[in-house]
Symmetry: C2
Subunit: 110 residues, 2 copies
DNA sequence: AATAATGTTCGTATTTTTGCGAACATATAA
DNA sequence: TTATATGTTCGCAAAAATACGAACATTATT
């Protein structure tokens, strides 16, 4: 079945997802982490950690939030942990933000 | 003079602006307010307030934050206050988010 | 097995955000 | 002028986010 959601529902869902993405992106360190991951190929926790002035616990927590928002993913590799952008959701975020901001703003108001 | 900022600087500035926009968008009520403003022509405070279950003070505060982030603008009209999307910054946000998410994600990692 | 390296989780302190009633400010109406 | 309508600001309480050291778990190395 693929006819369950009405347009209204999926619109509300999209706003919810956008809120989740935006919230995760609403912190300087987390945005910097995303920017860092975008320009790296290797991205072990340690590589990320050594770029920031924060404690391990703090970075780990930010990564956890980015992950739970779906923007990144992690993979255990030996004793290390490899992080990277979550491609699928990255594309989803791209689409949702683009759609949200493209909306023709009414010329009337203000 | 228009040659002051290096690419690095403006990149950092862009991330900062993105963080500001994202933070403002990272709350359900504020996202709903934006969505509401996008589909309205008239947008007095009262019109917005009556759509949400929150107290006037709460809505007023959310509007204040959206405004200080640059996403909306307000205009006093008689005893009422008219709110709407800030077109210039809306376009800026559209560009910044699009640019951020378009980044070709490396195929290597994860 | 013992040690070292790498991250996560726990507990906690601090700060920030959120939400709201009450008081206030301003403009219109009576 | 007095009253009414419309929002904002203030002050405070509750909740959530942030940051970090210490303890813990897991894997690799000796």
């Amino acid at each position: 079945m693929r006819t369950y959601n009405s347009d209204m529902d999926s619109k509300a869902e999209n706003i919810e997802k956008l809120t989740t993405f935006a919230k995760a992106m609403g912190h300087p360190t987390r945005m910097e982490i995303l920017a860092f991951l975008l320009e790296q190929n290797t991205c072990y926790f340690g590589d990320i950690h050594e770029v920031f002035p924060n404690a391990k616990a703090t970075i780990s927590q930010h990564l956890k939030e980015l992950k739970s928002a779906g923007l990144i993913q992690g993979e255990i590799e030996g004793p290390k942990v490899k992080y990277c952008i979550n491609k699928e959701n990255w594309e989803l975020a791209r689409l949702l933000f683009a759609d949200f901001f493209k909306s023709n703003v009414k010329t009337k108001c203000c």
